[in-house]
């Protein structure tokens, strides 16, 4: 397919890897933010093409992974109600709550439906006026416009049986939380391309300045990722700390204004709890009070409570780039995609699942060696 296949060329990938090798003189640690990038890096073995001084750590950019346990429990509670048709993106279905998951509720007879777009959930609401349609609105800035559009449609058409269970998260506050942590070892970022398609990259400029750290907006195909790493390493070697745009075919500095206007109309910035990390101020989006009627938590009067995460899971440290999946004592033994303890093992974009899928057989890599050497 155009704009995809040409960015997967093996010879070109090796050319970038050579350029990176020629450029690197010292050890550097770079974090990719987005789970889609993590998946591509591990799948295509991009980290293994890099010189041994370079370490890639995987960031918190998997919305499925960071959705709080309480919210998964709320989804399970709602999906069990007989009047509810519970709609979700496919990757949320297997995320374990405290005692069940959406797939199990579906097997028990609950009406749980996988949708490709939140607009499909609005369509179900139109077609089933006697049922309550709840959409599980999770995601980063990339997904927020689609979810805002669904709420807008429902409001414009006066659809009263549609609501969303909302847990939107924002990337820049998470970057800031990682950078201001005393445990931080990240020296450069690959920013998430599609988040920036919507938001642009102006918000990253003050971060690059304040923390003196290069941030390269990067795409998702192997050549994009290698190009992004190359630009980031060049900045590090030259002592620059700027925001650069590798992914200009899909990202402009100001982003998509129509999308931003719609998001601002429907959502407001709120404090948000991230699974494994805890609450980060101003790091999420919630419905504005004018759209309160579309808030499922309110409509169904869901209790506000907190639950503890399984003690053995170090998912939070993995999401902040402090540890790698194979450093978890449960990895690939007690915790597997069939019996996940924590969300990074459930979602195909989670770092634990990516390592389980592509790295189990060759776990002793030079990369692991480096981590144990540290």
């Amino acid at each position: 397919m155009k704009y995809l296949d040409e960015y997967r060329d093996g010879a070109a990938a090796r050319q970038f890897a050579d350029a990176i090798r020629r450029c690197v003189t010292r050890p550097w640690t770079i974090m990719e933010i987005c789970g889609g990038q993590t998946h591509a890096i591990v799948k295509f073995g991009i980290d293994q093409l890099l010189p041994p001084q370079m370490t890639l750590v995987h960031g918190p950019g998997c919305p499925v992974c960071v959705t709080p346990l309480e919210l998964v429990d709320a989804a399970v509670t709602l999906a069990r109600r007989p009047e509810v048709i519970f709609c979700s993106f496919g990757d949320m279905l297997r995320v374990p709550g405290t005692d069940s998951d959406l797939l199990a509720v579906k097997a028990e007879g609950g009406d749980v439906r996988t949708v490709y777009s939140p607009l499909d959930a609005v369509k179900f609401a139109r077609e089933n006026p006697r049922r309550e349609i709840v959409f599980f609105a999770v995601g980063f800035e990339t997904t927020a416009p689609a979810n805002a559009l669904a709420v807008y449609h429902a409001q414009q058409e006066g659809i009263a049986n549609f609501s969303i269970l909302c847990s939107h998260v924002l990337v820049p506050p998470a970057i800031e939380a990682i950078l201001s942590s005393p445990q931080n070892r990240v020296q450069g970022f690959l920013a998430a391309g599609h988040v920036c398609t919507v938001m642009g990259f102006r918000e990253y400029e003050p971060l690059a300045q304040k923390y003196r750290i290069p941030i390269v907006v990067t795409g998702f195909e192997p050549l994009d990722i290698l190009h992004g790493i190359y630009l980031c390493v060049r900045q590090l070697e030259e002592g620059r700390a700027e925001v650069e745009n590798q992914y200009a075919r899909s990202v402009s500095r100001c982003g998509n204004r129509s999308a931003q206007r719609l998001m601002e109309a429907i959502f407001q910035v709120v404090n948000r709890k991230w699974r494994g990390i805890g609450e980060i101020p101003h790091s999420g989006l919630g419905l504005r009070s004018q759209f309160r009627e579309f808030d499922a938590a309110r409509r169904f009067e869901l209790a506000d409570y907190t639950v503890d995460e399984p003690a053995e899971c170090i998912g939070g440290l993995i999401l902040q780039g402090v540890k790698k999946p194979y450093e978890c004592s449960a990895f690939a033994t007690r915790c597997t995609p069939d019996h996940p303890f924590g969300a990074p093992m459930v979602s195909s974009e989670g770092a634990c699942a990516a390592y389980y899928r592509y790295r189990r057989k060759c776990r002793v890599t030079s990369d692991e060696q480096r981590v144990t050497d540290n």
Binding site: M1, G36, Y116, P145, L149, Q156, T197, V198, S250, A259
Partner: protein, 84 residues
Amino acid sequence: MCLAIPGEIVSVDENESFLRQGQVSFGGILKTVSLALVPEARVGQYVLIHAGVAIHIVDEVEAQKVFECLRELGELEASERRSP
């Protein structure tokens, strides 16, 4: 979850702004998507689709940037080889 795929617009229904829709071809497979957030998008252009909504018109010129960088790297390497 942030996966977004480029597809070519094959038709546009001119509707009231936020209801604007169109057919997009993903390598021959057609899907109806919302074009509400790319009001200037026209038939024949490639748009990036996420969760059934077009969020960007792919910039054809910028799409070459990666390959330009590769060309420059190739030339640099060749000149380094000539003058060690």
